[in-house]
């Protein structure tokens, strides 16, 4: 099956560009704090103003992630969540929301599941793109081809340590948007944005006109606003995940309130 309609991710960035706004892109994890709640969260966060949701499939060895997402992954895996259940959650969420969803997981989860099968099942359940933090362009071709076949965006990473030559390769290969890692480090909330962020984003802009989303370390509304001024998308992960973990009973409302607040700051 080859999907020819415009991917939801391309659609949203087209719309946002027209209105000169940046995308708010929260990260949620399948099975966190539990399977059912992660479905409610998908819907509430979308309704609160998320433009795109990153939906993490928890992994046993998340080596690009800091303590918050590591701990959440361990909790999520004890719920019995797996790739099939994560896809099923997306399918259920699709009954209510049209927000683009990009699944985030490590390459072994894709490789072991089977590239074609992963791409096919993801697309069928309503996933629009896949983000894989340990798959650099050198190794990405087989997956990139499988993803393209099913109309999935294969979203690649750019890092401050990437040379300009690498940035070109990454930009050429990435679909949907480019995930710009704000700092040299792992995921996790930080107090300050890195001072060289503007320069880094400028370097990526020079090689591509594809949308640039910035992630890692963003947690405060004012940080989100600053990033929104220079990038096409703001990714918020660990801060949201720890808020969800703090009180499972009220997490759906708390997450929605937090996302609204960030949205407000970004649009101000």
């Amino acid at each position: 099956m080859v999907v020819t309609k415009l991917n939801r991710i391309d659609e949203i960035f087209k719309q946002l560009r027209a209105t000169k706004r940046s995308a708010l892109m929260p990260y949620l994890m399948a099975g966190y704090p539990d399977i059912e709640a992660s479905l409610s969260l998908l819907i509430s966060v979308a309704e609160a103003g998320a433009d795109l949701i990153e939906f993490g499939i928890p992994y046993s060895d998340p080596l690009a992630d800091g303590p918050t997402i590591q701990a959440a992954s361990e909790v999520a895996l004890t719920t019995g969540v797996n790739t099939d259940i994560a896809f099923d959650l997306v399918k259920k969420a699709r009954e209510k929301i049209e927000t683009p969803i990009a699944v985030m997981t490590y390459y072994n989860a894709i490789y072991r599941y089977g590239l074609e099968r992963f791409a096919g099942n993801a697309a069928e359940s309503g996933v629009d793109g896949v983000i894989c933090p340990d798959l650099p362009p050198e190794e990405a071709s087989p997956w990139s081809e499988a993803a393209a076949q099913y109309g999935l965006a294969n979203i690649m990473f750019a890092a401050p340590t990437s040379t300009n030559e690498r940035l070109k390769k990454i930009a050429h290969m990435s679909r949907g948007f480019i995930y710009c890692v704000s700092l040299t480090g792992v995921t996790g909330a930080r107090t300050n944005l890195p001072s060289n962020l503007t320069d880094f984003i400028g370097r990526v802009r020079k090689v591509t006109d594809k949308p640039l989303a910035v992630g890692f370390g963003i947690s405060q509304p004012e940080q989100a606003k600053q990033v929104a001024d220079i990038a096409d998308g703001v990714i918020i992960g660990s801060a949201l995940v720890s808020l969800i973990g703090a009180d499972r009973e009220t997490c759906t409302d708390a997450a929605a309130a937090y996302i609204s607040k960030i949205r407000e700051a970004m649009d101000s």
Binding site: Y59, S60, D61, P62, L63, A64, D65, G66, P67, Q70, E74, L77, N82, T83, Y106, Y107, N108, A109, I110, Y111, R112, Y113, P133, D134, L135, P136, E138, E139, M156, F157, A158, A159, P160, T161, S162, T163, R166, I170, V181, T184, G185, V186
Partner: protein
Amino acid sequence: MQHVLPDERGHYGEFGGKFVPETLMTALEELEAAYARYKDDPKFKTELEFYQRTYIGRPTLLYFAEQLTKHYGKAKIYLKREDLCHGGAHKINNTIGQALLAKRMGKKRIIAETGAGQHGVASATAAALFEFECQVYMGEEDTRRQSLNVFRMNLLGTEVIPVTSGTRTLKDAMNEAIRDWVTNVETTHYMIGSVAGPHPYPMMVRDFQRIIGDETREQMLKIEGRMPDYIIACVGGGSNAMGIFYPFVGTGVKLIGIEPAGYGLDTGRHGAPLTKGDKGVLHGSLSYLLQDEYGQILPAHSISAGLDYPGVGPEHSYFKDNGLAEYSSITDKEALAAFQLLSKKEGILPALESAHAVAYLEKMIDKTSKDDIIVINLSGRGDKDVQVVADALGVRL
């Protein structure tokens, strides 16, 4: 046929590669370029050879184990005595090499992961000698099993950071070391201790360890006037095995790698990915691993902390699939018996890791004759394991 892998992208057939976050890619490219520049550089080679000879204590002995040979009454058994390397294990062959490279790359800090603590100690040793700041990640479970090595590293001026995530063993220590490297990549050299990890590590560590095999070949020709028939080595990540195997690949010598079968291959509690695993990606390379149907990594088990790893170096996976070496396994119990046998017969306490290779004699020696020659790579000494062995035998110290 000359075995010339990896290819320029770091692949051994379908295995190997560079599956790491983009942040590290430039550092890997730099390391690759530095290694390519210095590996054949006469000054680098002279310096490495100097430390091998005057500091590590190379060449290590190729020892004819007469008592062990008599005990079995079959093939002649030789031990390649890597346990006599400075620090007590083969690990230092690699750490001195990488330290000399890191110095040329202008790095100030070294990080390493360790399981049994042998690679941690070897890294700490090289760091002390070449004045690097050094931090070693070690699973909390392993810091308990190998507390002696933790203190040794402290004495050498290295800080040991206990890792409390995941299974709290070697794989998690490696995750944590990679996270540190992602964060401090500009100042820090990550000293991987096995033929695992992303390219160029499996190649580079192999090249620094192949001296074991090169010496064995030369010594064997001198002593026996011919090549051995079998070479046996234990395989966790697989650096000692790769080191002794590599110069013999394709020569007709039977190369046998021994994985830890832990409580038994059928119990699911072992560390034998080549025997019981499936292909997948862990710690930057594609190889055989212990994993479930969704690609989640399964915990390994071995009485030997150094073999307690769910993955294996990618070139071993290539060797296995292409019949260049064969792989078998030995349980905790069998390794313990071999530990005692070698101690009693030869007066040599082997590391529990190396005891797995010794134990394989029981399974294969009957099919050998008195004319055959076996070399076992005695990769490390067993002093560090005395407490674990005492516990396993129910002896209170």
